[in-house]
């Protein structure tokens, strides 16, 4: 499998990274280099093998369904690029 310049543009779009116009060709080369290299995994027999989750099996913990955090509005907003009156200010997203 190899990627083309159009694929790189599509991937950038999916990743929400502005099209790296001046680096498209470089990225095509680098991505193909990496993708060719990882093709090696096709040699491994994974028939009937479960995907790895953790080296130590234990029950996924569940906590009580109670409020254990909150009331920290100002802390949540402390690092916002823009905020006003206790709200995040974001670009218009609905016409």
């Amino acid at each position: 499998m190899s990627v083309t310049a159009d694929d790189v543009r599509r991937i950038a779009r999916l990743a929400r990274i502005a099209e790296p116009t001046d680096r498209i060709d470089t990225l095509v080369g680098e991505l193909n280099g990496i993708l060719d290299w990882i093709e090696m995994l096709n040699e491994v027999d994974v028939e009937g093998v479960e995907p790895m989750t953790t080296p130590v099996k234990f029950e996924l913990p569940q906590r009580k369904d109670v409020v254990n955090d909150g009331d920290v509005r100002d802390k949540v907003l402390a690092n916002a690029p823009k905020s006003d009156e206790g709200f995040f200010v974001v670009p218009k997203s609905v016409e």
Binding site: V3, D7, V8, I11, A12, L14, A15, R16, I17, A18, E19, P20, R23, L27, E30, L31, G33, I34, L35, W37, I38, M40, L41, N42, E43, V44, V46, V49, E50, P51, M52, T53, T54, P55, V56, F58, L60, P61, R63, V72, K75, V76, A78, N79, A80, P81, K82, F88, V90, P91, K92, S93
Partner: protein, 490 residues
């Protein structure tokens, strides 16, 4: 610089308890040494002198009252991936410039509870993606070691700042995170001890996420005992991290110095690479001889899926990173760039905020997770991980610990490997298997190469058996008698 800063963590905490030195005195000296070294080594990303001195004074008060934890009063450097309340935490990325967490990571909170004193944040490869600390937004960190080489060497990465700061005696211990080798490779390059425990032993809560199923917070220490003291303090169950192990934490420090007689040490044939420098092979053989002399039984083992570890890693890590880093959209925190509409704000924010290596990995991750490719790439890689874990399980039928080199070379020159991503990725060839399998591993300095640069040996043990790792590490440390220090030039 007085000789105080040259002490190990275990030595300095003894002096602190005996009130032969105060924490404020130590912190003041460490701060001034660190700031003096900064223009040359570039290891730090943030200081908070008031916080440091306040914590040191609080430690002194506890020590005066005969109280205090195992690390009481010792200044520690913290990788810029750990949230430290009120202190700039950027993951060495422009996208997080100015970010000051309003909370504390579990691991740093545990270190402070044990008496550690915050000294500074340390530089790293951006979002922990790199093996040379060259992708940091504040520029490369310089290794205090030069040996007989010309020019500046990298301390390795991604936890390069923490390794460099400790090797230069600017702190008494430091934290790192190890996703593919980011603690053990820099430890090997800087003559320090670097450890990661079993996956889940240390909490990931409050640590900027790179690849969640592979990220292991861990310590750097000047000695094996120091690293055991630090890992002890950092470990434990954390309800805030659902992958945090509920198991009780053993006494790691007690394992240091325990006899290794009768232990079976596995030597994996697949780690003897064709292109491996002779000096690496030599130090490895030397390590085998040391352990044999200490009464260990040496066993040849096979880890047949070793060569698939790096390619599997370069699917799993970018895939998880692309998902984890989706949160950096410039809305709730971080730096926002303007744009014509919402999508272009996102796209401009991420194009300007992420460096080239981070963008490359996000794009690989996005590709391997995109429609139609999930099974072919991510799912297959996760199955290959199971094969790698099975390799270890099979090997541990025959041995108690595994000995390998930590890295395929000693420290290399800044800028010498930045052109080819795959060449850089190969730095992690010996370390990445332990991340994929989630088993404990450490790097211990074993000697100097012909250029006068440190080389480390890696010890890998079974999941939950950090104790054997520390015992074998201490045996290597004893036999190696490694006490070389970089000549001070900074």
């Amino acid at each position: 610089m007085s000789d105080l800063l040259k002490l190990s963590l275990s030595e300095v905490t003894t002096k602190l308890k005996a009130r032969e030195v105060s924490s404020v005195e130590l912190a003041t000296e460490a701060l001034s040494a660190a700031k003096a070294a900064q223009p040359a080594l570039n290891a730090f990303t943030a200081f908070d002198v008031d916080k440091t001195l306040a914590m040191a004074a609080a430690s002194d008060a506890k020590l005066a009252a005969g109280e205090g934890g195992a690390l009481e009063g010792a200044p520690l450097a913290i990788k810029d991936l750990f949230a430290v309340e009120g202190v700039s935490t950027t993951a060495s990325s422009n996208i997080l410039k100015g970010f000051e967490p309003t909370y504390e990571s579990t691991v740093t909170k545990s270190l402070w509870n044990a008496g550690g004193v915050f000294l500074a944040k340390t530089s790293m490869d951006e979002f922990a993606m790199g093996s040379s600390n060259e992708t940091a937004n504040t520029g490369p960190v310089v290794n205090p070691w030069k040996g007989t080489t010309d020019g500046n060497l990298t301390p390795g990465g991604s936890s390069g700042g923490s390794a460099s700061a400790l090797a230069a005696d600017l702190c008494f211990g430091s934290t790192g995170t190890d996703t593919g080798g980011s603690i053990r490779q820099p430890a090997s390059f800087t003559g320090t001890v670097g450890v990661k425990g079993t996956y889940g032993r240390t909490s990931r809560w409050g640590v900027v996420a790179f690849a969640s199923s592979l990220d292991h917070p861990g310590p750097f220490g000047k000695t094996v005992k120091d690293s055991a003291m630090l890992l002890q303090a950092m470990s434990g169950h954390d309800p805030k991290d659902s992958t945090s192990l509920p198991n009780a934490v053993p006494d790691f420090v007690a394992a240091v110095g325990k006899s290794v007689k009768g232990l079976r040490i596995g030597v994996p044939k697949e780690y003897r690479l064709d292109e491996m420098p002779e000096e690496i092979a030599k130090v490895w053989d030397q390590g085998v001889q040391w352990l044999k002399a200490a009464g260990c039984e040496i066993v040849d083992i096979s880890l047949p899926h070793t060569k698939y570890a790096l390619p599997a890693y370069y699917i799993v890590a970018p895939a998880e990173a692309s998902s984890n880093l989706a949160r950096y959209d410039g809305m709730r925190f971080g730096v926002r760039q303007d744009g014509e509409d919402l999508t272009s704000v996102y796209e401009n924010t991420r194009a300007a905020g992420f460096g080239e290596e981070v963008q490359r990995r996000i794009m690989i991750g996005t590709y391997v997770l995109s429609a139609g490719y999930y099974d072919a790439y991510y799912l297959r890689a996760q199955k290959v991980r199971t094969r790698i874990l099975q390799d270890f399980d099979n090997a541990y039928q025959k041995c108690d610990a595994i000995l390998t080199p930590s890295a395929p070379s000693s420290a290399f020159g800044i800028g010498t490997k930045s052109d080819d991503p795959i060449e850089m990725y190969l730095n992690d060839v010996f370390t990445v298997t332990a991340n994929l399998a989630g088993v404990p591993a450490m790097s211990v300095p074993a000697g100097l190469d012909s250029s006068g640069l440190p080389l480390g040996l890696q010890i890998i043990t079974k999941a939950l058996d950090e104790e054997t790792m520390f015992s074998v590490g201490a045996a290597i440390e004893d036999a190696a008698g490694f006490n070389a220090k970089p000549e001070k030039w900074w």
